[in-house]
């Protein structure tokens, strides 16, 4: 258990900054006579979040499910692709450019096609979240798996270790910090991917995610509801990010050090 003295320097500065900014924001809106269609006050945002709490929670759950499915898939698939890259120079040389292609493809351009191929609904949302969050995993895991101390590889070969033993006992453990970095980047991107996906596919007539709430608030120029929905989505991204950090710092770091 960490002591208060250890935690305080980490927690206090961002909290203090947060309070200062919120206070300044409230004062600027209040005394700067800024109309609500330009910028809502933090109080108005809090009020909108409270009155819309049922819709926000429902939407958050649905978006979270889509983002997490996409994120989990990109972790698994991305790591497998990276392993394939680390096994064979030829596979890596021939496939890596296409992985880069994945990163640069404008998702808003292909989202309508994804809907045509995979139909409207949850699966398309998760797929878009997957596509958008896959590349950081591939590139970071590949770097981690291939940047292994040459002497250690020689040592493993000296002891007649096969490539699977090298993979599980040397390459994968040493790739853990890289993989965690990739997952951190991907965690936020998966949430963005899910919301973009919702713009294009939706979930039918009755259910909706944060993407729909954002469009609805934009259409009605209700900036307070818009900010509430945006804060909910950033909270979701931060939650995934935090879980990645915790898993990286506990479970995986033990493997790394072992």
């Amino acid at each position: 258990m960490k002591s208060v003295r250890e935690i305080a320097p980490v927690v206090l500065p961002p909290v203090a900054l947060f309070l200062l900014v919120v206070l300044a924001w409230q004062l600027v809106v209040r005394f700067g006579h800024i109309e609500s269609y330009l910028l809502p006050s933090p109080l108005a945002v809090a009020r909108a979040a409270w009155t819309k709490r049922t819709e926000l929670c429902g939407a958050l759950t649905l978006t979270a499910a889509g983002a997490l499915c996409g994120f989990a898939a990109s972790l698994i698939v991305g790591t497998l692709i990276a392993i394939a890259f680390s096994f064979s120079r030829i596979i890596k040389a021939s496939c890596y450019p296409y992985a880069v292609f994945l990163q640069t493809v404008p998702i808003v351009a292909i989202a309508p096609l994804i809907v045509v191929w995979f139909d409207y609904g949850f699966q398309s949302v998760a797929l878009i979240a997957f596509i958008i969050s896959l590349f950081p995993i591939i590139t970071n895991a590949t770097t981690g798996l291939t940047n292994v101390d040459r002497d250690l590889v020689d040592l493993f070969e000296l002891h007649n270790a096969n490539r699977w033993q090298v993979l599980f006992k040397l390459r994968l453990p040493s790739a853990v910090p890289y993989l965690v970095t990739g997952a951190r980047i991907s965690s936020g991107m998966a949430v963005i991917g899910a919301i973009v996906g919702e713009f294009f596919t939706g979930y039918g007539a009755t259910r909706f995610g944060l993407g729909y709430l954002i469009m609805q608030a934009t259409n009605r120029m209700k900036t307070d509801e818009l900010f509430a929905a945006v804060i909910a989505s950033t909270a979701l991204g931060m939650a995934v990010f935090t879980v990645v950090n915790i898993v990286g710092a506990t479970v995986l770091s033990r493997w790394y050090h072992a």
Binding site: P13, P14, L17, F18, V21, A24, W25, V28, G32, I34, E35, S36, Y37, L38, L39, P112, V115, V116, Y120, F199, F200, T201, G202, G204, A205, Y212, M215, Q216, T218, N219, R220, M221, K222, T223, T234, M238
Partner: protein, 333 residues
């Protein structure tokens, strides 16, 4: 890592403060100068922002430009094309543009959020908003929309109206896409459109379609409405008068003889061919323009229509009851 978003908020707030607050007074100051200038035979610079790419629904404004009606009124009008989610209402309300074109429901929703704008002229008295269905679907009216996939932007007021008023048995609602392909591929699909363009595109693609006008079903906001801020109306009444009159002349010209104007629109927006623009004008005359409108009453709005729209938006829970005064929504002539 946690701080970044808050810096971003702060930067956004500062940006809006600087641009939002700094702009309005400057425009206001130059306003009096502009009005004076027009007397000494120099043209007054005026900006007019559209809610979409240049199309037939904006024809009258372009006609006033092409045929020199704005210039005759002493105005040098710059028409700024819009697009998806173009912030016309916001820009007009804060004075970043002098005039804007939008639909009546957006004006109501904007006013509910303290964006002080008013409608000035409503060239399209009836909304061109429609749902396309395949002709062989047997669907001839909205009540028959059952077991279909409806492709529509459900956050919009007219879509909310349909969702509230229709039984929707077996109806799947999916977001609208710019492409017609998903609609063409599904014989049980219904897709949103404007009666002045989508039926033409569908026919060109070989589909036999039927259009159901949302206006006929009871939701009929004025469309392609000319609007400006309360501030402009108060501070530059003569300018407002001139822009209304020249726009009205433009619309009358456009509906009578759109050839030259359509050529200009086609130049500005090559995606709009001359053929579809021509179709658009004919469809607009048939469905959207009041046939008996006398010359000086063209585009004039009624209190009943604005009251009805407000009560409909209240009923759809898009507007808090009493949040908007219908009389403040438009400039009575």
């Amino acid at each position: 890592m946690y701080r970044l978003p808050w810096f971003a908020w702060f930067a956004a707030a500062a940006w809006i403060l600087l641009t939002g607050c700094g702009r309005v007074p400057t425009e206001g100051n130059s306003a009096t100068a502009d009005d004076a200038k027009s007397d000494t035979n120099t043209l007054t610079k005026v900006s007019l922002m559209l809610n979409w790419y240049p199309e037939a629904e904006h024809g009258g404004y372009y006609a006033a430009l092409v045929h020199g009606y704005f210039e005759e009124a002493g105005l040098d009008v710059k028409i700024i094309p819009g697009g998806p989610n173009a912030p016309v209402v916001q820009q007009a309300a804060r004075g970043a543009v002098d005039f804007g074109v939008t639909n009546a429901d957006r004006i109501v929703l904007a006013r509910a959020q303290d964006a002080k704008i008013k409608a000035l002229l409503a060239p399209l008295a009836n909304s061109p908003r429609c749902l396309l269905v395949h002709a062989d679907s047997g669907i001839e009216k909205f009540e028959q929309l059952q077991n279909v996939t409806m492709m529509l932007s459900r956050e919009h007021a007219w879509a909310q109206f349909l969702i509230k008023k229709l039984p929707l048995d077996g109806v799947k609602i999916v977001p609208n896409s710019a492409s017609l392909a998903p609609f063409l591929a599904d014989p049980r699909a219904a897709k949103q459109g404007y009666i002045i363009s989508e039926p033409f595109v569908a026919k060109k693609a070989g589909a036999d379609v039927r259009s159901l006008l949302v206006a006929d079903f009871g939701f009929n906001p004025y469309t392609s409405v000319l609007m400006t801020s309360d501030q402009t109306i108060e501070q530059r009444p003569q300018l407002v008068r001139k822009v209304i009159d020249a726009s009205r002349r433009g619309w009358e010209k456009y509906l009578a003889d759109p050839t030259e104007t359509n050529r200009r629109i086609h130049e500005l927006n090559p995606e709009m061919g001359l053929e579809i623009l021509d179709f658009g004008v004919r469809a607009m005359k048939e469905h959207c323009i009041e046939p008996d409108a006398a010359t000086d009453s063209f585009g004039r709005m009624t209190s009943e229509r604005w009251h009805l729209l407000v009560s409909q938006l209240e009923e759809l829970a898009m507007l808090d009851p009493g949040a908007v005064d219908a009389a403040a929504l438009y400039l009575a002539e």
